[in-house]
């Protein structure tokens, strides 16, 4: 239980971010992250870190299905409000932040599901073997997938930025 508590303190934010990047709802991401750790307490998994992200991915998938059933929009819209922390940014900063945020989410959405999953797991701090175990890839293929995902993400982001600049001018 102590290990889990330590893991909770060190990884809670990473799990929230991981979930948020899948369901795009900050409050719900926090709810689900807490649910993940509650389940971990009940199950006491042998490899808690990998287990936590596997359960988080499953919960995010269930949430996405439920959202589809509720006919909610899962694809990010540019007008979606972005929760921000204090201090409140200026209006100009907020607009700029929103725009950049929409570009990144658009770039992330352009990736294949597998590339996106591997990239998000890597960003959440999972090791190659842990990513391989969760995604079903060979450990050797994780590096290749990550290389491709990183390249495509930045290319897609640059493309949207170029289009945004062209629209402004």
């Amino acid at each position: 239980m102590e290990d889990l508590e330590r893991l909770y303190k060190t990884h809670y934010a990473a799990v929230v971010r991981f979930l948020y990047r899948k369901i795009w709802d900050a409050d719900r991401a926090e709810d689900l992250a807490q649910e993940v750790f509650i389940r971990a307490m009940a199950h006491q998994p042998d490899k808690p870190r990998a287990w936590i992200f596997a359960v988080a991915a499953n919960l995010a998938r269930d949430e996405a299905r439920a959202a589809i059933r509720r006919r909610k929009h899962l694809v990010l819209l540019k007008d979606d409000p972005v929760p921000l922390s204090t201090p409140e940014p200026s209006a100009e900063e907020a607009v700029e932040h929103d725009e950049r945020w929409a570009q990144v989410t658009g770039a992330l959405a352009a990736l294949t599901e597998r590339d996106r999953e591997v990239l998000l797991l890597w960003d959440a701090g999972l090791s190659y073997p842990e990513i391989a175990a969760q995604t079903g890839l060979a450990v050797g293929a994780v590096g290749t997938t990550l290389a491709r995902a990183r390249k495509r993400l930045t290319e897609a982001y640059d493309r949207t930025e170029y289009q945004a600049d062209a629209a402004r001018s």
Partner: protein, 341 residues
């Protein structure tokens, strides 16, 4: 000199390679400027990816609630017993199996609504029908005409089901009208009730088909109510499936009888629930030598306590198993559904 491919530089920068692989790459990088440039490019790409993803943060500061609060929430949750979870899973699994089997049955009847009754089928049916007077048979999906037997041909009443279920009763008292009935259940019964090993007073099926029961004189074909009375608490059946017949073999030395309940699943397959002393049930299962016939795992049933020399009692372990031409997994599920009456 082999250059380091991008696919290796990414895990190298992610520190996902072994020490020896890192040393190998670093040795190469020390003497290869193009690879160093590519390493720097990939490192920049990696940092940029991290920065881009860093913008997709719900809040700049994510503060976890106290760990104790989660523990308290967990303690307030109702605990579902493991057996309930397993029972639910088994039920879902069984429902899936039944749905698949039912779909296959319907599909078969749609594709071949009037199956030919070959000579072999007739031959396979004839001796058994005379040997085993079956109480009832599930109605085939396509209702074929059944000639009504005369009063003197009908010697017994239909075998009642444990639970009321829609069915069509077909009498099989004589060979005169056998040919009008789809023989699948009886044919399967004939092949499923394969011979018992020859023992004193107990004769193999092949030589006793003209007798009263397929298992020899020790086995009795009985009506459900009689069987309940004779078998006491040991009459096994699977709810929701038609009962085709019941065979009982009296126990020895104070044992309860060994019982065999033949039932038909929705696809027409015959399933036998056998309950009795462990050694006797094992004998029956072993005697069903056909490779396509499987048996479920044993389920313990209430034991017999029989008098033993010296005024003591001896415990005879009893088990239940379900056999048939289904997969062992399906039979295991059916065995879990089996009820002892």
């Amino acid at each position: 000199m082999r250059h380091v491919p991008d696919e290796e530089l990414h895990p190298y920068l992610d520190q996902a390679l072994s020490r020896s692989q890192c040393v190998e790459i670093e040795t190469h990088l020390a003497q290869c400027a193009p690879c160093r440039d590519r390493r720097d490019t990939i490192a920049a790409l990696r940092d940029r990816t991290t920065a881009l993803l860093g913008q997709l943060t719900p809040r700049n500061l994510i503060i976890p609630p106290p760990f104790e609060a989660l523990a308290e929430r967990l303690s307030r949750r109702p605990v579902t017993p493991l057996w309930q979870i397993r029972l639910k899973r088994a039920g879902l699994w069984a429902a899936g199996v039944m749905a698949a089997v039912g779909t296959g049955w319907v599909g078969r009847s749609v594709l071949d609504p009037h199956p030919d009754q070959s000579t072999a089928v007739q031959e396979g049916l004839a001796p058994l029908a005379s040997a085993v007077e079956l109480g009832s048979v599930a109605a085939p999906i396509n209702d074929l005409p059944v000639s009504a037997p005369s009063a003197d041909q009908v010697s017994t009443t239909p075998l009642p089901l444990p639970e009321a279920a829609p069915r069509q009763e077909l009498r099989l008292a004589s060979a005169a009208h056998r040919s009008t009935i789809i023989p699948a259940p009886m044919l399967q019964l004939a092949s499923a009730l394969t011979p018992m090993p020859e023992r004193s007073g107990d004769v193999a099926l092949s030589t006793r088909l003209e007798g009263s029961t397929p298992f020899g004189p020790l086995w009795q074909q009985v009506q459900w109510e009689d069987a309940l009375e004779k078998a006491g608490s040991g009459l096994p059946y699977i709810e929701g499936m038609l009962v085709i017949g019941v065979l009982l073999r009296p126990g020895e030395g104070g044992e309860r009888p060994t019982s065999l309940v033949a039932q038909q699943d929705p696809s027409g397959e015959l399933v036998l629930s056998i309950e009795g002393p462990l050694t006797k049930v094992m004998e029956i299962v072993k005697s069903q030598g056909a490779p396509e016939i499987h048996a479920s795992e044993w389920t313990r049933t209430p034991p017999d306590y029989v008098p033993a020399p010296g005024g003591t009692t001896r415990r005879i372990n009893r088990v239940l198993t379900v056999t048939g031409r289904l997969s062992a997994d399906s039979l295991n599920v059916l065995a879990r559904l089996a009820t002892i009456r």
